[in-house]
Symmetry: C2
Subunit: 318 residues, 2 copies
């Protein structure tokens, strides 16, 4: 095999040989009663409930293969689902993966994608327990994640109450900053470009928030204002954010914003895909969380220093 | 709105308005602790385990919108996942759905797709508890299904033993017959064309087989020979099918086969997508199952009347 030979394609290797290659040698944790290789998997649900969610990523819409390695795409696909499980106050335990790709895709790229998924699952103590691989005109990755609530109630979007404080764990605005830098071909700020390619949700902080009595929680996938808008609407409250308090997130973005003619606070308020967690607490927030605002009586609005934000609230799917 | 006006598109309505339209008014059964509308759903797992599987369908690969209505596509997407749950001897309880489609897709088509999914879920007593909707160049539907084992062990592919009998519940070859009729534009045989567009797995027979002591089970998604090949390999046995016994499946296909120059037995042995269940039993098979062969000592082969089948074993994904 020549150095540049990408090796056999999915079509040349065949579906089942590729699946064997993706599955073999991946140890499954004890809570996986039955792993990949049968019609379905079986996963323990120790408290008699299962948390479940799904997210789909489409090539050139949610990732670009000229920006991201397949390993990074795999990490991102798992991370954004795991964040949805964390946002309920649960721990991600298991994932199933649908992967569509052209028949000419090198097997090595599918393996790198799976390696990235397993790497991210390893950060969670979770396992990939099943999947489906099909031919498609472009890459499409659909992940469904299961989670364990550990006997606690799920933390819903609808539980915020007037008088609560609002706090964030994780990063805000970094992914959008990275996107603007990548799109503009602006050098430097490697950490921000990296943040766009591979989100790093604050794993474990969903459970920590639930244990600390979080009244409502969501992950920041579309943008802080947009996602808090769902909390404000579901809870029928008014959420007010403090521009000063958000400075801790905006300040590290100032240089990149200046280099691209952007507003760092807009990135913090409207940028999605960092998969930070934002939650409301009746009293103090736990370690690792940063207070950014408060909850008042109202009917579903979100404001900044008492006024509506004039900029973009977040990502639009269509 | 004019009679032919397809109404607003996904882009015109916006993601969240469409999701509201898809979710509103769908009653969730009591075992759904938390339905759609939050970061994740929560589903009861009464025996402390969850069965989970996933399947992805890509437009023009797994369905054609000039052959199938969106309602039919929705039924098919749920049915093929539910069959993978049934094949473990479990009951499908809940599903999550990823849906990718062009921004110009009429909302009414997305609603019809969801209606079809809910119709099929209703046949199962299951619920659609969450999803994700994204822009994509063509329709892509990814479903993950959860299931309940009711305290029983999962029926794996690896449990077939020499001396067992092999039996089928459901239809064989009808979907491929329908595909050949549709592709050739051959009139008549509406039931077979319909079988290709909407599979009708024998819901409930997976649990019935498990209760009757099935030693191994799988669903026929790729083709009887291909899928039994996985059972034979996993169980390290030789499975021999009886051409005579398969006649009950082939005979009703004879007219359609003659009209298209096809071999009805090839359809029965190599045609996928009917999502019949095939299982092995140590003694008798339960009502609703039809004996088609037997299990002998061996190393993973499947034969017909003692000889390898010379035709196609099943569908290739790439």
């Amino acid at each position: 095999m020549a150095v540049d030979d990408p090796g056999p394609t999915l079509a040349e290797a065949g579906e089942f040989a590729v699946i064997d290659r993706l599955v073999t040698g991946r140890p499954q944790p004890a809570f996986v009663t039955l792993g990949p290789g049968d019609d379905s998997a079986v996963v323990a649900a120790p408290d008699g409930r299962t948390v479940v969610c799904t997210d789909m990523l489409v090539q050139d819409r949610h990732f670009r293969l000229d920006w991201s390695t397949p390993f990074d795409v795999g990490r991102k696909a798992v991370a954004q689902n795991a964040a949805d499980v964390e946002a309920m106050g649960a721990r991600c335990t298991a994932l199933v993966v649908g992967f569509g790709a052209p028949a000419v895709t090198p097997v090595a790229q599918a393996v790198a994608l799976a390696d990235g998924m397993w790497h991210e699952a390893g950060l969670l103590g979770a396992a990939i327990v099943g999947g489906d691989m099909v031919a498609a005109p472009q890459w499409v990755i659909s992940v469904a994640a299961l989670g364990d609530l550990g006997g606690r109630d799920p933390v819903r979007r609808s539980g915020a109450r007037p008088g609560d404080l609002v706090a964030v764990a994780g990063r805000l605005g970094n992914s959008e900053a990275g996107y603007v830098l990548l799109r503009g071909g602006v050098a430097g700020h490697d950490d921000l470009r990296r943040a766009h390619l591979v989100p790093e949700p604050p794993y474990g902080q969903g459970v920590a928030a639930a244990q600390a009595g979080a009244t409502a929680m969501t992950d920041v996938s579309d943008g802080l204002l947009a996602d808090l808008g769902h909390v404000a609407a579901a809870s029928q409250v008014h959420i007010d954010l403090s521009r000063d308090a958000l400075g801790v997130f905006a300040a590290p973005l100032a240089d990149a914003a200046a280099a691209t003619g952007s507003d760092p606070l807009q990135w913090v308020l409207g940028g999605g895909e960092d998969h930070a967690l934002v939650a409301t607490f009746a009293a103090a927030c736990p370690p690792g969380w940063h207070r950014i605002g408060s909850v008042a009586e109202g009917a579903g609005q979100v404001s900044v220093d008492g006024r509506p934000w004039s900029g973009r609230a977040g990502w639009q799917s269509f």
